[in-house]
Amino acid sequence: MSGGPVPRRYGLLGSCLALSLLVLVPLSLWIGRDGGGPHFGFGTSDILREIRVPRTLVGLFVGGTLGLCGAALQGLLRNPLAEPGILGVSSGAAFGAVVVYYFGFAASGSLLLGTGAVLGSLGALGLLYALAGRGIDLVRLILAGVGINALAAALTSLALNFAPSPYAALEILIWMFGTLENRSLAQLWLLLPLAVPGWMLVIAAARGLDALTLGEDVAGSLGFRVRRTLWLVIAGAALAVGATVAVCGVVAFVGLVVPHLLRPLVGYRPSCLLLPSFLAGAALTLAADIAIRLMPPGPELKLGVVTALIGAPFFLHMVLSSRQRTAE
């Protein structure tokens, strides 16, 4: 399957995104933050190696994962409002991490926090499979995602209710907002072994996603195994998004905004959207994290809060413009 010519602007878009990363990465290594607000310079080799480099790399890969998975899920569900959160993967992972935190295992090392998050996302995936069954009914899949989200949110609130002290509850809440603050190489080594196979699975579904734009029935009659595409994307997204929640909490809206902005530029082809979304997700997340470090003195803003502040008005704009389109 050749899938037709690659859109004209694809190469240009890729170069622009790569160029923006070439600017953002050194900036992220160069900008630090302490009690007096931002300060500039690469710092000592320890600070660069153990603090700035891990923070930059985790930001890149987390943002990239969210962009990639958002693009794949929007292609799969043929719904521009889809994002990793919609299938309950993020909230399942968040619940898994909160349980680990609540039972006090987190004190013995943040790797356990990560394991809890990945188990949570896999649990959400298992539940999704049980609810949506072997079918390929996408409406049922979205409904199952809504149900899993509600369940995970309720269970997380339950865990908060039983938190041993107001301070523990506060720590849990803060952690769930999503942040790159104080992440180290240990978090990078937790993220990559889970996220990379996740990316592979999602990318393996690329051609199936193109076929799905014709509708499930046509794609099936063309000889595409639609169910295989479905589970490749879901398993890949669960693994990769679970890993991102494990290392930095829930970072909202990146997976929604990025593919939506890029779609017209790649000629509305889901397979051509995957790589640019990865790069743009990485760039957006890194830019947001740099902006956080540039804020005036005070406690750091949370990355998830900043991305939500960017993403929520964007989401509302999408809802409005879709209403106008129906009215026309």
Binding site: G32, D34, I47, E50, I51, S110, R183, S184, Q187, P297
Partner: protein, 288 residues
Amino acid sequence: MRSSRGRSPLRAAVTGAYLSLSVVAGLSLLAGVPARAQLPTVASINLCTDQLVLSVADPGQILSLSWLASDPEESMLAAEAARYPQNYGSAEEVIQVGADIILAGTLTSPFTRELLRRLGATVVEIEPETSLDDTYRNLLVVGAAIDRAAESGRLVARMRERADAIQARAPTPLRTAVIIRPGGFTIGRETLANDVLGLAGLQNDVAELDRWGSLSVEALLSARPEFVVITRYRMNDASLANAFFAHPALRRFSAQQKTLAIEARQVACGTPASLAAAEALLEQMAAL
């Protein structure tokens, strides 16, 4: 030839290092006492460990405290804390302070603690205080960690004496009471606040909670405890939590009961001020 020429500067450097090391060792042997008196420096990234270290450290030891420590609504030692540089708990700024020891709570972000350890810092983790005994233990742990064991031992001995004196003045048998926090929360049995009330002769188990949670108005009305203890927190800030105190049912209830008040920050972290809360309760009970 080449290799020996290459090696000799290295050898000279090694010999030089040995020499300077032995000179330093000899000097410190001669200096003896001043070297011993060099106390380890300390930075703290948690409100409760801030106050523990302020209570036992030599002022010269403290290099940095968390920003909450100098907030008078949060901290009992805000004025003292304001004399030191603040941190916001980011590993990058804390590591640059260069303290020998970093104090953190066991509930401080695990990512921060891990990153600080990766950077080679000595991180001492302190459990939150859930009783006066925890407070004594933590003061001794912090004292031992920063070479101020004698000072922390004396402070704890003074606190124990002060607690005994409070207990001697406290009413027997225990009088019933309930803690009401802004927002209708209450504090249960396994907490520092409960211990402080117990020391002042007040029994706080209306809510039948182990730790903390929402106050059941039904339980409150049926148990009718003799005293209502309010823990004040940011009372001048408009908030839904403080609006709770204006609730007519609660106002009617507390108008009938005897109301006592302590500061939330006195029992948020275990400090000598936690004993002051018990003394304040006794004085207010005597004045009623």
